[in-house]
């Protein structure tokens, strides 16, 4: 191959790497200090771009010079930094004590809110920013032109890395950041003002995201889709580099930049898969990323985030459960057709959320990619009935959990080798691979169009009949999973979650049990996916995508991660809320985001947890009714 081409291609890779590093460095620093997986980092990036396309042209009107351009970029970064401070002070500060998952949920609420606010403020049209003065041209390199601005970008990455190094090693703030990254308790022990440290960290992280966004405006127009487009890449970089490690992020960004620059030559259609495949490989080989360190096992015994104690239904609760099931089954007699449809969907999501709770609440395995198994089930069912086989619905519904279970077993084999945030990230990577395959392998999956015509068999085509079919299958599956939670297997999962060391020391193979749990939960999610496909009549990649994974997590958390049946309430509440809010306004994402944030603030233990707290208070007033 032409050497000039190789050089230019590699320069393109360096420019992308540099941009990616600036963004990811902020994410990794914030994670290192606060341990929050900040989904809103992509929103900060987007805000950086939007603010820059607003500010920079004004400055260029005053003085058309590179200095004015870069001043505008810096101002944008600082403004975003201040927005980060506002987010920290108004929201994150209030929830440092709630389970880490809720913090993640709150940041996802911010994503939804910012998306719609950006539409409201800047309008829906993509806004192309000005080019940098004196850097509009191409520079002749080995006989080919290369954009001068990208040469500058290539320099920005190492510059930011250098400045961060100085900050980390030459200032007290930086030393504290490093200390907190290594051991969060130590900072508390040193008597540091933790609130101020966190505020400053958010300022730094958000500024870096804003800087990354502002630097992009000569290349990419500011648009309302850039937040989620960048956040997955930024996650990949931080995870490959090792969460909390700035040099690791730099290394990972370089790796990904070159992989993309040359990967598109070899696999022009597999770009989405490549980066996630790289992440999966890195995590399997180096479970803490390239330069990351294992989580400091400080020997503390923390209460796990999940189900803490199991007990049976008390008589009134059993009665209530019976009434609930009876009311549900009577719904087709009472409600209209639309209500039946929504109730069917709630039942399906309740099963999916419950299967996720089986992993998260019982096993302590936080999956960011549970939609992958929901989607695998839906695709297996959908492709079976519409494909050359024209299989009957019953067979398809049988195949759905089997296919999803097989997928979960395959991915789970690698996933259960990790723990904590790295495990969550690997589930995300595998889910993205499933998504990319569904999205891009048009010949088999129908691509983003998906496949239509996935309707129930004639005997179940009637909506009421299908509702009862779903009710029967979903309730049986939920009861089955519930039974497992109360069985030695469920106890073993909780044991492994509470103390893997103790579990191994009494002969319980932690990985093997988690693998089985992952497979079972995947199969249950797949069953839900199969039911969903027939309910909707179609399958498409959104069934495997991140937003659905997040929705399922929201259901679990809103319902109450410490309760066995809470996720069912969460599913009902969340889906009914979405259904109620969507017709009201096209800014329904804003309302949904605010509702999520409000829930996190008001009910940090979820709805069922909140109900219990109230009951607990009443219980104290009447000692006779004290909780068991």
């Amino acid at each position: 191959m032409d050497p000039a081409f190789l050089v230019l291609q590699s320069l393109s890779g360096l420019a992308s790497a540099s941009s990616l590093f600036v963004i990811a460095s902020g994410l990794t620093i914030v994670f290192g200090v606060t341990r929050i997986v900040n989904f809103a980092h992509g929103s900060f990036y987007m805000l950086g771009a939007y603010i820059a396309v607003t500010v920079v042209p004004r400055l260029l009107d005053l003085s058309y010079s590179p200095a004015a351009f870069f001043l505008g970029v810096l101002i944008s970064a600082l403004v975003v930094g201040l927005i980060g401070v506002a987010v920290e002070v108004l929201l994150l500060r209030r929830i440092y004590r709630v389970p880490e998952l809720f913090q993640l949920l709150a940041t996802f609420g911010i994503v939804l809110v910012v998306e719609d606010l950006v539409l409201k403020v800047w309008g829906p049209v993509d806004l192309a920013g000005p080019r940098a003065p004196a850097l509009r041209h191409g520079v002749e390199i080995m006989g080919q032109r290369f954009p001068a601005y990208e040469l500058v970008l290539i320099g920005v990455g190492p510059l930011v890395l250098g400045l961060l190094w100085l900050l980390m090693h030459r200032t007290r703030f930086g030393v504290l950041i490093r200390a907190a990254t290594q051991d969060r308790d130590m900072v508390g022990a040193l008597g540091v003002n933790q609130a101020r440290l966190f505020t400053l960290t958010l300022f730094l992280g958000a500024s870096l995201a804003g800087l990354g966004g502002a630097l992009q405006i000569p290349r990419v127009p500011a648009n309302s889709h850039m937040d989620l487009a960048v956040i997955t890449d930024a996650f990949v970089v931080t995870v490959i580099g090792g969460m909390g490690s700035v040099p690791g992020a730099f290394l990972a960004a370089l790796l990904i930049g070159q992989l993309q620059a040359f990967g598109i030559l070899v696999f022009p259609k597999a770009t989405l898969v490549l980066v996630f495949a790289l992440m999966a490989v890195v995590l399997v080989v180096k479970p803490w990323g390239l330069l990351g360190r294992p989580e400091a096992g400080s020997g503390r015994v923390l209460p796990p985030e999940g189900i803490l104690a199991l007990r049976r239904f008390r008589p009134p609760e059993a009665a209530l459960a019976a009434v609930a099931v009876a009311a549900l089954l009577a719904l087709p007699l009472l409600g209209d057709a639309y209500k039946v449809k929504v109730a069917t969907e709630i039942l399906i999501f309740a099963l999916a959320a419950f299967s996720l709770q089986f992993l998260v609440g019982v096993g302590g395995l936080v999956s960011f990619g549970h939609a992958a198994y929901f989607g695998l089930g839906a695709y297996a069912a959908g492709l079976l009935v519409t494909g050359p086989l024209k299989a009957p619905m019953a067979l398809a519904l049988l195949a759905a959990p089997l296919a999803a279970g097989a997928g979960a077993a395959l991915f789970g084999f690698f996933i259960v080798r990790l723990s904590g945030i790295y495990l969550a990230m690997l589930t995300l990577a595998f889910a993205q691979i499933v998504y990319a395959v569904c999205f891009q392998w048009v010949e088999v999956t129908g691509g983003d169009n998906g496949v239509v015509g996935v309707w129930p068999a004639p005997w179940a085509a009637n909506r009421t009949v299908y509702f009862y079919l779903v009710a029967a299958v979903a309730l049986c599956a939920i009861l089955g999973l519930r039974r497992m939670i109360y069985a030695p297997f469920g106890y073993t999962l909780r044991a492994a979650r509470d103390s893997a060391t103790r579990a191994e020391a009494i002969g319980l193979g932690v990985r093997a049990h988690r693998w089985l749990a992952f497979t079972l939960a995947g199969a249950a999610a797949g069953l839900a996916g199969g039911l969903y496909a027939f309910q909707k009549g179609s399958i498409d990649p959104t069934l495997t995508a991140i937003p659905l994974s997040i929705d399922l997590l929201v259901m679990v958390l809103v319902g109450g991660i410490q309760t066995v049946m809470g996720p069912l309430v969460g599913a009902a509440f969340f889906h009914a809320l979405k259904d109620a809010v969507m017709p009201l306004t096209e800014f329904w994402r804003l309302l949904l985001g605010l509702a999520i944030i409000a829930t996190v603030l008001a009910f940090p233990r979820g709805l069922a947890g909140a109900a219990d707290a109230i009951r607990g208070r009443m219980g104290r007033a009447k000692p006779a009714a004290a909780s068991a």
């Binding site: 990419v220 127009p221 449809k341 691509g447 998906g450 498409d540 309430v569 009902a572």
Partner: protein, 409 residues
């Protein structure tokens, strides 16, 4: 550390109550009062396209109602019920159900994303409701996945590609490179282009293809890889933010110099406005150069649109305006809101629209609405189109034999 088990009572009660908490149903009989039309679209996520579209629909709705409503139905006015489709097929199917069951609409129209359009089309087929798909481009909607309840207004991917092929086939360019977003629309446009060019241009060859991920184009690497192919022609399917990034990088690196570029949709204001003064010159493209069009009624439409919304019309605006007038004509002809009568009226219906006469072909339920083909040019700091001609969709439809083969399956 104390651990308190959580009550199941709250859990179970909440679950039981949830379905009943949904809003109460509103039923308006579809026999008197306004004729209700259910329009679902991505007004939130795809606002750049869907909002101008909705604006024009409201404009047309008001004009028709002011002129006396649907005369064949005793002057009943039109009432369009707008709903966000959530931009996913799952949400859209539920919203469609809500429109049909709760809002009691006579039929459905709208959708932007192809997968949403296909899901709603399939829903329409199941529920035996008419669905007028307005914006989705995928060929499948009227071909392999077509059904008798679904009609499509906008010229599909095949038609628009064929218009471009017609415009470039005599330029003597044989070596082509293709760049397209990696999803169904991009892949099917690329496949159509290859097929049509191979038939039209002797010695046609594709010397390179790039399929960047939708919304995540790595412009530098993609432009570098395309330049390396040394192609004489470039067929572009990128749009939106991907297109802007690609054009800037390509301009700087000189990718488009001395090359023939054929580009789908780039002339639509939705995509051209963000390009601004970076709009490349001389690209052969399909689009909607509203300022140059003077078909009957179009100038009035532009004037009315600008007056009411203080904005220039987009392609979505044209489409929304055309669609509502097609709906009016359909209702006048059907003299009913009953689905079978509507289908009968819409098949073969010819409407005089501001874009010219548009016929809904009965064979595949694809309208003959065309597009304007021309070359991109800079007019001050804004892009525009020159050498424009209206390509009437009637000349670019799928061949009848292909339709029969595809729709039989």
């Amino acid at each position: 550390m104390t651990i308190r088990p959580v009550s199941r009572r709250a859990v179970v009660g909440g679950l039981a109550a949830a379905p009943f908490g949904l809003s109460a149903s509103r039923v308006a009989a579809q026999g008197a009062g306004p004729i209700r039309v259910g329009e679902l679209n991505s007004y939130g996520r795809m606002a750049a396209f869907a909002v101008p579209y909705r604006n024009a629909m409201q404009l047309a709705e008001a004009a028709i109602n002011k002129a006396g409503g649907i005369k064949a139905l005793g002057g009943r006015p039109l009432e369009i019920v707008f709903r966000d489709d959530g931009s996913t097929p799952g949400d859209a199917a539920r919203v469609a159900e809500e429109l049909v069951t709760r809002e009691n609409v006579a039929f459905l129209c709208g959708t932007f994303l192809s997968n949403v359009g296909l899901a709603v089309a399939d829903f329409a087929n199941q529920r035996k409701v008419l669905f007028l798909a307005t914006e989705p481009l995928t060929d499948a909607l009227t071909m392999g996945s077509g059904n008798r309840y679904t009609f499509r207004v906008r010229p599909n991917t095949y038609m628009q590609t064929r218009m471009l092929v017609d415009a470039v086939k005599d330029r003597g360019v044989r070596r082509w490179a293709i760049v397209a977003p990696n999803y169904e629309y991009g892949q099917s446009a690329a496949a159509n282009f290859k097929r049509l060019m191979a038939a039209a241009v002797p010695g046609f060859e594709v010397v390179g293809e790039q399929f960047p991920a939708l919304g995540k184009v790595d412009a530098g690497a993609t432009v570098g890889a395309l330049a390396q192919t040394r192609a004489d022609g470039l067929f572009n399917v990128l749009f939106g933010a991907d297109l802007t990034a690609f054009v800037r990088e390509g301009n700087t690196r000189g990718l488009f110099e001395k090359r023939t570029v054929a580009s789908l949709l780039t002339g639509e204001p939705e995509y051209m406005i963000p390009l601004g003064d970076e709009t490349p010159e001389g690209w052969v493209t399909t689009g909607y150069p509203w300022e140059t069009i003077d078909t009957p009624g179009h100038r009035e439409f532009v004037a009315a649109y600008r007056a009411r919304f203080n904005d220039t019309p987009r392609l979505g605006s044209l489409l929304g305006y055309v669609v509502v007038h097609m709906i009016r004509d359909m209702l006048e002809r059907a003299q009913s809101t009953e689905t079978e009568r509507l289908i009968g009226a819409l098949e073969g219906l010819t409407s005089e629209t501001i874009a010219g006469p548009v016929t809904m072909r009965a064979l595949d339920h694809q309208s003959t609405l065309g597009a304007w083909v021309g070359e991109t040019a800079l007019n001050g700091r804004q892009g525009t189109m020159t050498k424009v001609r209206y390509a009437d969709g009637a000349h670019y439809m799928f061949p009848e034999a292909e339709v029969r083969a595809a729709r039989k399956a």
